[in-house]
């Protein structure tokens, strides 16, 4: 700590602070336009001028000057105030004074400072800019006439997002922020630039003109899309979520969000939301009362083991726990599952046998503390963009080495010094085994590895996985595999990341065990910056596993439940929030199961493809309407409370399950808080947690690792002449099937497509946007072609989120499907 004096007050601050940071942590406000907590100091706006006695009273910028011992600083002398007024006058010289029509009015740093410093007149005269306003996309409006050239948008796009869509163009008075070739903005549309803009130059168009900033009530919440668990603030007016508000002090990500978090909130107040319960009468779904609907459901739930339940991992912990209680204690059936029964297998099977726990032994915070990151699949950026930003920061700021093991290249491959090992689809387990074998052969294992149970079996089983043998089937070279082994083992701290999800059937228990072996062999588990991070698909995937909402003992798993529906063993299926018809593999099979089951009960926000086939549809609530907790992928338990009142006659799943428990003669908990108390008493790691105790930051549930080596079985990589290997996955800014109700994700990617390499396209004379027919043994599908250089020859990619173009017509749940593609 360094001692210094600010405004005659002795204060202390950490050694690496700037004057601005030191003042801020001691509660002294210095006005600034070009500074953000996440970005490196820049010194563009000259508003933060201060006087330092040791520098002979010269005015220096506080945001770029590091503190030194004994500094004597004045932040608000009459001279400084005069200088700041001058800066404001010069900024306002070219800034149009259109505050009444500017959407930033009320939330504008320049407006607030002008008011604070009472800059009522301007001594200078100059003309305003006449730049053309960029209306080219429906998400971000760019009006360079209002720009104050703080450079925050340029820096956040470069430093954190790693896209580099914006830059300074021209010099001197003509300087402006522009895109390539002075064209309209055409990027990922994450909206990070909008969030940091201090003036109204960059505006979020979905929110434009909807309301003034001061008319919004702000509710902090947790994003309801992926498992990263980002904190966000919802701006609410008239019971409508109108926007998300940026707050640099929120969460580990410091307010940074992706396009779906920032622009994907429209599903909450969507006009398509279900408003009343629906009951099927004479073949049609008609509106009904809650009493009527629940009566039918109650009667159907008295079926014991002929009842099964599927839930989405978007429910809160309390709801999942209550649903499980309802099914096991009141209905008497253990047939419960979520996420297709396989998307959670990395945790429930893989980590259970390798680490003795159902959670990843690392946190997102480890990414920036590590020295070496091994990412399995470039899709890690698409599935969890904010974790992708953390990887960007780690690589760019901390010099962390990055290796990607993937079946295609991607955005992460473009990071400085990133190595991408592109292997044949489906061979990742074999490659990881070969890396383990290489580490064993080169004697790079840690001292403790040999004492972990299963070491001898692993060592003998890995004999078949020599880098040379695996190289031939995986498309890599033995040297590449050996290099990854050396890099990984020799790094002081190394972290492995891999995404899971419904579209990643190959990221299963075998892959989880394979990466666990790698981490255990080199002793990279259990310390800071080390370990394995399994990136779960949905916002409460980890919670669903922690609550035990998956098939255990003699219960049927999701795919077996669907089989049992077809065979007639399961007569009542209760689906809470899942849309298996759109998201589970093999839609024909799911369809016949849903048709065969006697009674289908669905609770959901929307009349999904699955809900449209139901006998009873119950309108449920979104995360903005309920109270409870979500557990993020790194096991941070976070509390959410309602931001708006329930829409229409919808009820939270908690209320639905409670009333069903009561109707079946059980006792329901009084509130989500009471249920959470019951959860924290029995769930490992949750002990001592309460709703009020979680606070705004949430709490990490600790993970205890009992390591063991398990021999992972690598699947044979299918090869068929003339066919292409189809890999499914997530596309940037979509998540599950919910994101199709968000404006942002739907603009960035409105429809499914088939992505293929240039070589394959040339061979089949396919050009961009051609409609091609994809066929596999399970069906055919027509999709638009997208030709990109990132795909290796022989591999095609289709995203899975879109019920309008369901990939599950041609994909039946295997990691790699051989398909024929023709025009």
């Amino acid at each position: 700590m360094v001692n210094l004096i600010i405004n005659d007050k002795p204060v202390t601050a950490p050694k690496d602070s700037t004057i601005y940071d030191a003042a801020k942590i001691n509660g002294i406000k210095i006005p600034i336009l070009c500074h953000d907590k996440k970005l490196k100091p820049f010194g563009a706006c000259r508003m933060c001028l201060v006087e330092v006695e040791q520098m002979k009273g010269r005015q220096i910028p506080a945001c770029t000057t590091p503190i030194t011992e004994g500094m004597i600083i004045q932040t608000a002398t009459p001279d400084i105030i005069k200088a700041r007024k001058l800066v404001l006058e010069l900024l306002l010289l070219n800034h149009p004074l259109d505050c009444p029509v500017c959407d930033k009015g009320g939330d504008c740093d320049l407006q607030n400072l002008t008011y604070e410093y009472q800059v009522n007149s301007n001594r200078f005269v100059d003309s305003k800019f006449q730049h053309k306003i960029d209306y080219n996309n429906p998400l971000i409006e760019r009006d360079m006439n209002r720009c104050v050239l703080c450079g925050k948008c340029v820096r956040i796009c470069d430093q954190i997002v790693g896209y580099g869509a914006l830059t300074f163009i021209d010099r001197g008075i003509e300087t402006k922020i522009g895109c390539e070739f002075e064209d309209g903005l055409n990027c990922e549309f994450c909206g990070s630039c909008v969030s940091v803009c201090p003036v109204g130059s960059l505006l979020a168009r979905p929110f434009k003109n909807k309301a003034r900033f001061w008319a919004l009530t702000k509710h902090s919440s947790v994003c309801g899309y992926c498992g990263t668990g980002c904190n966000l603030t919802l701006g609410v007016k008239d019971n409508k979520v109108l926007t998300t508000i940026y707050d640099e002090n929120q969460g580990f990500h410091k307010g940074q969000l992706c396009a779906r978090g920032r622009f994907g909130y429209q599903f909450i107040n969507s006009e398509k939301r279900l408003m009343t319960p629906l009951v099927r009468k004479n073949g049609n779904l008609v509106e009904a009362t809650w009493e009527e609907a629940l009566e039918i459901v109650t009667a159907r739930l008295r079926g014991g083991t002929s009842v099964a339940a599927l839930a989405t991992a978007r429910l809160t912990n309390e709801e999942l726990s209550l649903f499980k209680k309802l099914m096991i204690e009141n209905v008497g059936s253990k047939n419960i599952d979520h996420s297709g029964g396989y998307a959670h297998s990395a945790l429930t099977e893989g980590f259970t046998r390798s680490f003795g726990t159902t959670a990843a032994p690392s946190t997102i915070l480890d990414i920036q503390k590590s020295d070496y990151l091994l990412v399995v699949k470039t899709d890690a950026y698409e599935t969890h963009p904010v974790i992708g930003f953390e990887i960007n920061l780690a690589v760019k700021n901390n010099g962390v080495k990055l290796t990607i093991l993937s079946d295609k290249r991607g955005k992460l491959s473009k990071l400085p010094d990133a190595r991408t090992a592109v292997h044949v689809p489906g061979s990742e387990v074999a490659v990881l085994n070969a890396i383990c074998k290489s580490i064993l052969d080169q004697k790079l294992i840690s001292a403790t590895a040999a004492s972990i149970p299963g070491f001898a079996q692993l060592e003998s089983a890995l004999a078949a996985y020599t880098p040379e043998a695996v190289a031939s089937q995986s498309g890599l070279t033995a040297a590449e595999i050996n290099q990854i082994a050396i890099d990984y083992a020799s790094a002081a701290k190394a972290l492995i990341l891999f995404p899971t999800g419904l579209a990643y059937a190959g990221h299963n228990a075998e892959l989880a065990s394979a990466v666990a072996n790698l981490a255990l062999l080199t002793g990279k588990v259990g310390s800071e910056g080390c370990g394995v991070l399994c990136m779960n698909e949905k916002n409460n995937s980890q919670g669903a596993v922690d609550m035990g909402f998956y098939a255990q003992e003699d219960g049927l798993n999701a795919l077996k439940i669907l089989d049992a529906c077809t065979s007639g063993a399961v007569k009542t299926l209760f689906i809470a929030g899942e849309n298996p018809l759109a998201s589970y593999p093999n839609s024909a099979k799911v369809k016949s199961a849903l048709d065969a089951v006697e009674c289908l009960i669905v609770s959901d926000l929307f009349l999904t493809e699955t809900a449209a086939r139901a006998d009873v549809v119950l309108p449920a609530c979104s995360y903005a309407e309920k109270e409870g907790t979500f557990t993020s992928t790194d096991r941070r338990v976070q509390y959410i409370k309602p931001a708006i009142k329930k829409i229409g006659k919808s009820r939270t799943d908690f209320e639905i399950f409670s009333s069903l428990i009561v109707a079946l003669g059980g006792a329901a908990p009084a509130s989500p808080a009471a249920e959470f108390a019951a959860i924290s008493a029995v769930t490992p790691g949750y002990a001592g947690m309460t709703h009020t105790g979680l606070g705004v930051e949430g709490c990490f549930a600790p993970v205890e690792v009992k390591p063991a080596f398990v021999v992972p079985q690598s699947a044979a990589t299918p090869v068929e002449a003339g066919k292409l290997a189809l890999v499914t996955g997530s596309v940037l800014y979509h998540n599950g099937t919910l994101s199709q109700h968000g404006e942002g994700p739907m603009f960035v990617c409105p429809d499914a497509y088939i992505e293929m390499s240039r070589a394959d396209a040339r061979n089949k004379t396919i050009i961009e946007d051609d409609l091609v027919t994809v066929s596999s043994p399970s069906g055919t599908l027509q999709l638009k072609a997208k030709i990109t250089p990132r795909m290796p020859e022989g591999v095609v990619f289709i995203p899975y989120h879109f019920p309008a173009a369901p990939v599950n017509k041609v994909w039946s749940g295997s990691a790699v499907t051989m398909v024929t593609v023709a025009k």
Partner: protein, 133 residues
Amino acid sequence: MNPIAPIINGLSITLKHMFMKPVTLQYPSERPKVATRYRGLHGLKVSHSRAKCVACYLCPTVCPAKCITVEAGEDSSHNKIATRYEIDMLRCIFCGYCVEACPVDALKMTGEFELANYSREDFIYSKERLLEK
């Protein structure tokens, strides 16, 4: 005191008024002269054949009676306009803060004071009714 004097006094005043201009206004056949700064019904000013209002939301913000509803939108050339502008005259207290707050001088208060109506809905003045004719 002489009891007759006050009666004569009074009658003389009455007599004097019989020859003065009457105070009572024969409303509605006679119309009152409204002061220039009278705060009557609101009017949305028009310039270049369109409303001057830019939907900045300052009037609903300042309104103590919360009687103004504004919804903003864009016209075809991306200019900000009020797609909805309503004043609930049953709630309005005619304080004139809205006129004072308007940064573009788009709002005025006219001399119109005859605001009686038969149904509650008729007291909600839409943008069309408020536009100055």
